[in-house]
């Protein structure tokens, strides 16, 4: 910190909007509130770096910071969301995945984050499905088929850690493979592909721009997360199909970008609306009702040889009485979508999102400077107020409330205690 100087005119300019933080204050706050205030640390780092190398970090991270806030704010428009999602995740397993700039290497790190993603995805979108595709040596292979069961995917991901990376990926082949199964999905569900691309090159058997056109006509939304740099063909691909394209800065940013895809995307206005028949099977244990019940096979185990075969308990389809051990699932016999009520409820919050909290500078705040949620002191430059109950939150809690809780704790509190 020895080359701290007074901010020059140029520096003031780069930050703009009068948000300049005096360097000494940053050093101070960095030492004081360390890792809990991850975001604020980001801001601090920006200011410190700026002294050495000009405006680069400052502005880029300023932009990032804003986009993060924006994510919260943006998602609260009145839009129709595609609640039933079909998502193929393409994981690059090419030579460049051995690069060690993510620890221990890109592949392991990606697979770890993928597990978390799958978990989170099914948590927030219980009636959706995921499939995983890997691509290496100019080929694309299905790791798992489209399915609504997180366990199977996570097991497959865990196993994939040992894969040998090699060759080049093929964007064309993986997109083609995903599109082959996505195109049979009904029109009221969303068709999405998420590509985690580490390589900067792709080996394609045919003109990829033709395929992009096809994808566009099939209304498949392709998003890309780049692990190294911006590649032109991905920019075009995502722009044309209406997806998003991001490049990671580091692991935490990677995680953040992945989590962006947990939220259902806005449904295109042209997608069909239809009533869907759903079954809500009860979990019954055969032995309780019938003394001489015998263990039976679950329908979902018919095609996969692994896992426990026989069990007494299960969900029975209300229409055809086929037995399943897990929900949600599409009945193999009569095609009914089987879910449980909590699944639907959890998808519900996307439709009635929590309103964005209003951001105000900390100076304007009267009264106690404590966050209502974590009870920590408010040390950021701005605080967030719930428009309904006027409680004050810090930046971190604001994000937590909007990303995970989906309801304001203070509002709930006041409702439950009359």
């Amino acid at each position: 910190m020895k080359n701290q100087r007074e901010p020059s005119a140029g520096r003031e300019a780069t930050r703009g909007h009068g948000k300049a933080v005096k360097p000494w204050r940053c050093v101070f706050s960095c030492d004081q509130v360390c890792c809990r205030y991850n975001l604020f640390l980001l801001v601090c780092r920006e200011v410190l770096k700026e002294d050495e190398s000009g405006s680069l970090k400052a502005t880029v991270e300023e932009i990032l910071f804003q986009s993060k806030r924006k994510r919260v704010v943006e998602s609260h428009g009145q839009v129709r969301l595609g609640m039933m999602r079909h998502l193929y995740v393409v994981i690059d397993c090419s030579r460049s995945m051995e690069d060690q700039d993510l620890k221990p290497n890109r592949l392991t790190s990606t697979l770890k984050l993928m597990e978390a993603f799958v978990d989170e995805y099914f948590d927030q979108n219980p009636i959706s499905q995921v499939g995983i595709i890997t691509t290496k040596n100019k080929r694309a292979d299905k790791l798992t088929e489209l399915a609504g069961n997180p366990k199977k995917h996570i097991a497959a991901l865990k196993k994939a850690v040992d894969t040998v990376c090699g060759g080049e990926p093929s964007l064309y082949n993986s997109l083609n493979l995903a599109a082959q199964s996505l195109k049979h999905m009904p029109g009221h569900t969303s068709r999405e592909i998420l590509i985690v691309l580490s390589s900067l090159t792709t080996c394609d058997p045919a003109n990829i721009y033709e395929l992009i056109k096809t994808l566009k006509s099939l209304k498949v939304r392709v998003s890309v997360i780049g692990l190294s740099a911006e590649v032109r063909v991905c920019t075009v691909l995502t722009r044309e199909t209406g997806g998003s394209y991001h490049v990671i800065l580091d692991e935490s940013h990677f995680k953040e970008l992945l989590m962006l895809h947990v939220k259902p995307p806005p449904a295109s206005s042209s997608s069909e609306c239809s009533l869907i028949r759903m079954g809500f099977p009860q979990h019954t244990i055969a032995s309780l009702s019938d003394q001489d019940a015998k263990p039976s096979f679950s329908m979902s185990h018919l095609d996969s040889s692994s896992g426990p075969g026989l069990s007494l308990a299960g969900y029975f389809c209300p229409q055809c009485h086929a037995k399943y051990t897990e929900l949600p699932v599409e009945c193999k016999v009569c095609g009914l979508t089987l879910v449980s009520a909590p699944h639907l409820a959890r998808s519900f919050h996307h439709l009635f999102p929590l309103q964005a909290f209003t951001e105000t500078p900390v100076e304007e705040l009267r009264g106690d400077r404590f966050c209502q949620a974590c009870q920590g002191g408010l040390k950021d430059k701005s605080v967030f107020t719930c428009p309904a109950c006027h409680s004050v939150f810090c930046m971190e809690c604001d994000l937590f409330i909007h990303d995970s809780l989906h309801c304001c704790p203070c509002c709930i509190h006041s409702q439950s205690a009359p």
Partner: protein, 760 residues
């Protein structure tokens, strides 16, 4: 938006403006106010053209008597078209704002090849063929012959234009080359001659450098342009070389052989004419006795642009008696030719000055200085009299005669070098006589003297003070502008060492060094793995590139690179290169990624832009010094030292750095673009080299980016590329590097703008 530039109302056709554009206009206004010349450097992609156009047009509107014409010189046809399009946008904005249709006439001018609409002539492929064919259809005597012989083919477009076109001026508007052709087709007029005629009363003319600088063309096209014009040379970083090329003559044995046939043809034609129509020759003779008085009169009234080939005193004299008759002149040419042939029969290199040459020619074949000076004029007159239709065939003899005139006119600033063979092939006799101009100011002097304001501008003109020196003029403004950026979108890195600490350099002693070549290979290999889409690599010369690539192939480096990206190579063959370029762009477009290996000073380094994904990184292997063993260069360096007190080393470094800057500048073509600039030579880290880079590159080189190893470079690049891949929208630029009118007019911003221009 409407701007107030130092009291002048300027219409600017965009809603946003870059701060440096405002600053640029301020400087330009100052230059015009002072009626002086200016040197302005502003990075490419910051809207130089529109700033220039909107200010000068505004100036013309407000002070119609002070500035009557804008002459905008650019290098290539696509660039000319771009300028016209910008101008069109500006004029549309004017008419929208003021509500009245404007009365401005602006047009582009190019060669016959680009403008011809004659169905047969325009089908020809080469410019020279088109010129020759056109001449054979439109020359005055051909048209005169038609009166007696109606079967004589003429160009109906020209006839039509000649009949009515001159009376009706071209209606006001903006014309690019295609517009001119369309208009010509509609009216049935020849667009080329129409444009040449129209530039006399046009408000804005856009054409190539050569129309002002090349004495042969300038004489035909530009001599009647108004004195109160503003001349702009865009992309003028190579203007001294253009001037020199325009004045230099190279004579090989092949030229002399062709010249011999030309002279023979002349001889037979004269014989024929003598038998049929000797009166014609007599008439010519008496005209020559009168001298070139007519031209002289015109010069005094200051209508013509003085032509450097034809100095004033020649006009005052009559053509000397020895070459006045046609036969004598042909005999004279024969003698001169024989003398040149004998001079080319040398075994060793000869270098001599113009006076030495004249003395020698007088002693050997008794040719005086005076008739030599009239050689070019005399030949023109003879060709006219003989009514030779196809001038193109006589290029050899024209070349020899203009050489004769030049060598006898200028005792200073030129040198004659006769080399018996090329340096690379010392066993093959291929004698060349270089009559080389060493002083670029000779060609450009008439331009500076004649026009009230001349503006020289480019993205890379550093160091600014050397241009006024070598072009011998006094600028009133010299300024270098930086690029204001919302994010640092360029990343210059100087790689000085390999991972094994071997110093990287292309200097002569280490050129063949295995370790250096291997490390260069490693650098390219590592970069190919982390840079997306396109990489352009520049070498100092073709020979050096061949050596290195061959060595990489043996070491297996090329094979490894090809796993990451495809490799394309620039060759001296233009067709091959454009093919390679096309495939390169395709590979960048569809995600395969590609590397283009090319040469500084080559076609790729000068004219081709690598926007966005076509050039995410430029690697400059070595410092692109000019081939220092060349005798022409040595003579020029000596001349610069004696005449302008510029040290050899300074000039060489200046020349190398401006080419290096040109090469790396290919990658950044605007504020939304980004790219790495990698200088792979430890000599770049020295202050004398670094200090000669343009300011907008220099200010991003800090101590942390000097003398890096390959690994460090890779780390920095990776980081930079990830930063740049983050979403970047226009709103992020607003207020910093992109301004609305309100933002521009704020006190604080005006103060900041005043710091952008760096005066020297």
């Amino acid at each position: 938006m409407k701007l107030n530039i130092d009291g002048l109302l300027v219409y600017f056709p965009y809603d946003y403006i870059y701060p440096e554009q405002y600053s640029y206009m301020l400087e330009l206004k100052r230059t015009l106010d002072a009626k002086g010349h200016g040197v302005l450097e502003m990075p490419s992609g910051t809207g130089k053209t529109i700033s220039l156009l909107s200010l000068i047009v505004a100036y013309q509107k407000v002070f119609p008597l002070e500035v009557t014409k804008l002459i905008y010189c650019s290098r290539t046809v696509p660039e000319i078209e771009k300028v016209v399009e910008e101008l069109r946008k500006l004029m549309e904005f004017y008419s929208k704002q003021t509500g009245q249709s404007n009365n401005f006439l602006a047009l582009a001018l190019s060669s016959r090849k680009n403008l011809c609409i004659h169905p047969e002539v325009s089908a020809l492929r080469f410019g020279k063929e088109v010129d020759g064919k056109c001449h054979s259809l439109t020359a005055s005597y051909i048209r005169a012959q038609r009166h007696s012989n109606p079967d004589q083919p003429v160009c109906r477009f020209y006839e039509e234009f000649d009949a009515v076109g001159r009376q009706v001026p071209l209606p006001a508007g903006i014309y690019n080359l295609d517009d001119l052709k369309d208009f010509g087709r509609r009216k049935g007029w020849c667009p080329y001659y129409m444009a040449r005629y129209a530039i006399l009363h046009a408000n804005i003319v856009v054409y190539s450098y050569h129309y002002l600088l090349d004495p042969k063309i300038a004489d035909m096209v530009s001599k009647e342009l108004s004195k109160k014009s503003v001349v702009v040379f865009d992309e003028a970083h190579n203007i001294d070389n253009v001037c020199i090329d325009a004045m230099s003559v190279n004579i090989t044995r092949r030229t002399l052989d062709r010249c011999q046939t030309n002279v023979d043809t002349l001889q037979t034609t004269i014989q024929k004419i003598k038998e049929t129509d000797s009166a014609k020759l007599k008439e010519e003779y008496s005209r020559l006795v009168e001298g070139l008085k007519e031209a002289n009169v015109a010069r005094e009234t200051d209508v013509y642009l003085s032509n450097p080939v034809l100095p004033d005193e020649i006009l005052k004299e009559a053509v000397p008696g020895t070459i006045r008759t046609a036969e004598h002149f042909v005999g004279f040419l024969r003698r001169f030719l024989e003398y040149l042939k004998s001079r080319l029969r040398v075994q060793h290199v000869v270098q001599e000055s113009a006076p030495q040459f004249l003395k020698d020619i007088f002693e050997k074949v008794c040719i005086d200085r005076k008739p030599l000076r009239f050689c070019a004029e005399r030949l023109q007159s003879l060709l006219r009299t003989l009514e030779i239709a196809d001038i193109a065939d006589f290029s050899a003899v024209t070349l020899i005669s203009s050489f004769a005139t030049l060598v006898s006119t200028y005792s200073q600033g030129f040198t004659i070098i006769i080399e018996p063979f090329e340096d690379r092939t010392p066993t093959i006799a291929n004698p060349v006589l270089h009559f080389s101009c060493m002083d670029p100011s000779i060609a450009i002097k008439p331009v500076f003297q004649r026009f009230q304001s001349v503006v020289i501008t480019s993205g890379t003109l550093s160091p600014l003070d050397i241009y006024p020196k070598i072009l011998d003029f006094r600028p009133v403004t010299m300024a270098s502008f930086t690029m204001t950026l919302a994010r640092t979108c360029l990343c210059p890195l100087i790689v000085g060492r390999g991972n094994d600490q071997v110093a990287l350099s292309s200097k002569f002693e280490t050129r063949e060094d295995f370790a250096v070549i291997r490390n260069y290979g490693n650098l390219l290999l590592e970069m190919s793995a982390i840079v997306p889409d396109g990489i352009v690599a520049f070498f100092t010369s073709y020979v050096y590139m061949e050596n290195i690539v061959a060595s990489w192939y043996e070491q297996g480096i090329l094979e490894n690179i090809q796993r990451n990206k495809l490799i394309f190579i620039e060759t001296p063959d233009a067709a091959e290169t454009s093919m390679a370029l096309e495939k390169y762009q395709e590979a960048c477009e569809n995600g395969r990624g590609a590397i283009l290996l090319s040469v500084a000073r080559g076609k790729v380094s000068e004219g081709i832009d690598f926007v966005h994904h076509f050039g995410r990184a430029v690697i400059m292997f070595g410092v692109p010094y000019v081939y220092t063993q060349s005798r022409i260069l040595k003579a020029r360096l000596e001349y610069l030292r004696d005449q302008f007190q510029i040290r050899e080393n300074d000039f060489l470094t200046f020349d190398a750095m401006r080419h290096a800057a040109q090469c790396v500048g290919r990658a950044i073509r605007g504020k939304t673009d980004y790219g790495l600039m990698i200088f792979a030579d430890k000599r770049y880290a020295r202050a004398d080299k670094r200090g000669k880079l343009p300011r907008w590159i220099q200010e991003h080189i800090n101590d942390g980016s000097l003398n890096l190893t390959v690994d460090e470079t890779v780390q920095l690049s990776k980081h930079f590329l990830r930063q740049m891949a983050q979403p970047f929208r226009q709103e992020d630029q607003l207020g910093l590097s992109l301004l609305t009118l309100e933002q521009l007019e704020s006190e604080e911003m005006l103060q900041k703008i005043s710091q952008i221009a760096h005066q020297t």
